[in-house]
């Protein structure tokens, strides 16, 4: 760098050592490591199709390491739908959708979905997947849900490979003596420990001397032979109520809400920090129709006006003001969806009352949402129309 001005330069640059690899035939020869790099970026459907290319491709693609890499880069968020969210036998089946363009959600291409059956984990538990609407969370491609509240079983699944593990959230051994009840909150990814972690709230003995009872949070790192460990301070939180609207955001935070509560609770897996997030200032909040979702890696809230005339979508950005407690939230209004016009243009199909959860951006300005009855609909900001695609 320093010899910029010296005209008679150093020796003409020696050739960089050429890579040892052999050079191409007519076709550009693309090394396996680059092919793998490319294939981590194709949709899951293409991955499975490419397994039919050759034996080497099959062994490159059909393994856990590749799936993990594919998940971590996947831009299309797999969407998992239970065939029968209200109960019954069929609710042991997940349908995986991976859509990038809105046409992927047309009824005719619905066969894009693949079924994943969970045959044996539900045996003997007729309440399996009860409450499932409120407790499915997705984190970096892994999906996690709790079985019947209080039963203590949590299922963690990779919907693309169909693999799953069952974790029990109850304390074992000595700890079980001080545990009265526990509520599973969610799955998150901690960059600090570089692992997936489960978060639960436990009701139990806080102080063995004076027998005080209370709720305390605990974390379990997946994979390692670890046990539940205390996680942060959450004394302001009341966990005896039913958790609703649980969402994971890519920044390693899980958000949830309690009914009739004017704020959102959050837990940051990196900082092991609990925090309240105030809702944005709606016109006259009617809390029964607030719903959380994730759009473009940001927390998102949808809000239906009390007279059901419109739906508002807001997105949150975490603002770091420095320091452990200096995290704030800035809200931005994304969309104002008039449901009256939508109703007229939608040939008689009415937006039903209740909450709408934003699911994902499908293309620019097209948002997939689902309502409280798990009907899916696509909102198109450009022509203000909605469809019922799934």
């Amino acid at each position: 760098m320093e010899e910029d001005d010296q005209k008679p330069q150093l020796q003409v640059a020696a050739a960089p050592p050429p890579p040892p690899a052999a050079e191409p035939t007519e076709l550009a020869y693309i090394p396996d490591c680059i092919i793998e790099e490319i294939l981590t970026r194709v949709p899951a459907k293409t991955v499975f199709r490419c397994m039919a290319v050759s034996h080497p491709w099959l062994s490159m693609l059909d393994n856990r390491r590749f799936f993990q890499k594919h998940h971590s880069l996947s831009s299309a968020r797999p969407l998992v739908v239970f065939s029968d969210p209200l109960g019954g036998k069929a609710n042991r089946i997940l349908h995986l959708y991976e859509g990038r363009t809105s046409s992927d959600f047309e009824p005719r291409t619905r066969s894009l979905s693949t079924r994943i059956d969970f045959p044996d984990i539900a045996r003997g538990r007729c309440t399996f997947l009860h409450d499932v609407n409120t407790l499915v969370t997705s984190c970096k491609g892994l999906v996690c849900w709790a079985t019947h509240r209080g039963a203590g079983d949590v299922v963690i699944s990779n919907p693309i490979t169909g693999e799953y593990v069952l974790a029990n959230t109850h304390a074992r051994g000595r700890n079980s003596l001080r545990e009265v009840a526990s509520v599973f909150i969610g799955l998150g990814y901690s960059r600090r420990t570089n692992s997936f972690e489960l978060l639960k709230m436990t009701l139990g003995l806080l102080d063995p001397i004076d027998f005080t009872m209370g709720w305390y949070p605990e974390l379990l790192a997946l994979g390692a032979k670890s046990s539940w460990r205390p996680a942060g301070e959450a004394s302001e939180f009341d966990f005896s109520r039913k958790v609703c609207d649980l969402v994971n955001v890519d920044d390693g935070t899980v958000y949830w809400r309690y009914k009739e509560e004017p704020s959102i609770c959050s837990f940051d897996f990196d900082r092991t920090l609990f925090r309240f997030v105030d809702l944005p200032e709606f016109e006259g909040p009617a809390l029964k129709t607030v719903s959380l979702g994730v759009l473009d890696s940001a927390l998102c809230v949808s809000f239906v006006s009390p007279d059901d005339s419109h739906v508002e979508l807001w997105s949150a950005r975490t603002v770091d003001n420095g320091g452990a407690h200096g995290v704030g939230t800035a809200w931005k209004k994304l969309y104002h969806i008039e449901t009256v016009t939508t109703m007229l243009e939608n040939s008689g199909r009415v937006w039903s009352r209740g909450a709408y959860q934003p699911v994902m951006y499908v293309e620019a300005n097209k948002i997939l949402m689902h309502d409280w009855r798990t009907n899916f609909l696509m909102y198109d900001e450009d022509n203000k129309k909605t469809r019922y695609p799934i």
């Binding site: 680059i34 490319i38 194709v42 293409t46």
Partner: protein, 163 residues
């Protein structure tokens, strides 16, 4: 990077078919391979790039100049990359991904890989074999079995005329 004089430094790059290209050092050092050579002081004369042909190198330099002219605005850079790659065919993209790998340019590598992935999305197995030069080592029975197992993935695939 530049010296105190403030005059932009120009590097000369040579492709493997002996074409010479001038490029501003500030743009060329997007390539870690070139940057290392510059920092090692061996960029005085002509920098030979033995794994890149002239046509591909011309493209890469267009990209280097284009992207380095954009200030730190990730959205604008992304739209430049999208536009830059939009009219490239598979063979050009394949050459570029190899060049990006050799030149160690992660942003171009990511963008071209993603573009190839996008091109592949609805292509048939035959198309993939042909374009990547992969020999089919399945027996017909094995191939049928693999395809049957992932039957759902073969819907909506573009028809393949010259398979």
């Amino acid at each position: 990077m530049a010296a105190e004089t403030g005059t932009p430094t120009t590097l000369t790059l040579k492709s493997n078919d002996d074409e010479l290209f001038s490029v501003a050092e500030s743009a060329a050092i997007l390539s870690v391979t070139i940057r290392n050579m510059v920092e090692d002081g061996c960029a005085g004369g002509v920098i030979p790039l033995d794994n890149v042909d002239g046509k591909t190198l011309a493209s890469v330099i267009t990209y280097m100049n284009g992207i380095s002219a954009i200030p730190a605005d990730e959205e604008k850079k992304k739209s430049y990359r999208d536009k830059f790659l939009s009219d490239k065919d598979f063979e050009t993209l394949a050459d570029m991904v190899l060049a990006a790998n050799y030149l160690n340019m992660s942003c171009l590598m990511d963008a071209v890989s993603a573009k190839i992935a996008q091109v592949m999305e609805k292509k048939s197995v035959g198309w993939v074999r042909r374009k990547f030069g992969i020999e089919n080592d399945y027996t017909p029975e094995e191939e049928a079995a693999v395809k049957e197992e992932h039957k759902w993935t073969f819907e909506g695939v573009e028809t393949d005329d010259d398979n």
